[in-house]
Symmetry: C2
Subunit: 136 residues, 2 copies
Amino acid sequence: METYEVRAIGVVRSALRELEDAPRQADEGAPEAELVFDQQFAAALEGIKAGDAIELLTWLHQADRDTLQTRPRGDANRPMTGVFATRSPDRPNPIGLHTVTVLEAAPGTLRVSGLEAIDGTPVIDVKISLGSPDVR
Amino acid sequence: METYEVRAIGVVRSALRELEDAPRQADEGAPEAELVFDQQFAAALEGIKAGDAIELLTWLHQADRDTLQTRPRGDANRPMTGVFATRSPDRPNPIGLHTVTVLEAAPGTLRVSGLEAIDGTPVIDVKISLGSPDVR
């Protein structure tokens, strides 16, 4: 199969330092975080403002790419399940998908609401969340 | 900045053959499509069933990675906007994010509802859509 090169465009700055401190999902107590972008991509942020919902894509650099099945949420009572049927970070391409709200937008940085990714996680993409067709 | 290697895990099979035939978003008339996975990743699909909503990530292989700003929806009346504030396929890491419903799940393949990606688009990840916390 083909391979492609993903480039880090920025990094997560968070009080969460270790994986074991991170909640499994954002709505399970994740803190605010700052997204710091490489200067060369600052122009691509223009138009994002406080209050916007965005889809944040990260590269979960500590994940295991060889895992194909897992027990959801590490629960020994649940059956082995394909990782594509879960939100496990362990998967062939360990891309994190986080829907967050922008709290503050400054040149080259965004402060966002509840993010479960740890400090140092590479940012690889940002997309505005899709509104209804009449506001696209 | 760091770079990472993304591997195609499968491919989109669709009646949409050319970019100019594709709607801009799934709910703007996109057809059903089939996702055909490489055999080595079939085990990672176990647990996905008809009716599930999934987040499909693709590699938009025809996109322009040097574009930082664009006019949303190609509309000349709209101001130049950072690509991260849009859903433009043209962006530094051209990852497509599609929320689709599984119509049929068979070993190594998924048939899904409205997908605006064209035939031949590489698939790079699948995640179950997040339900409420009590059903995760």
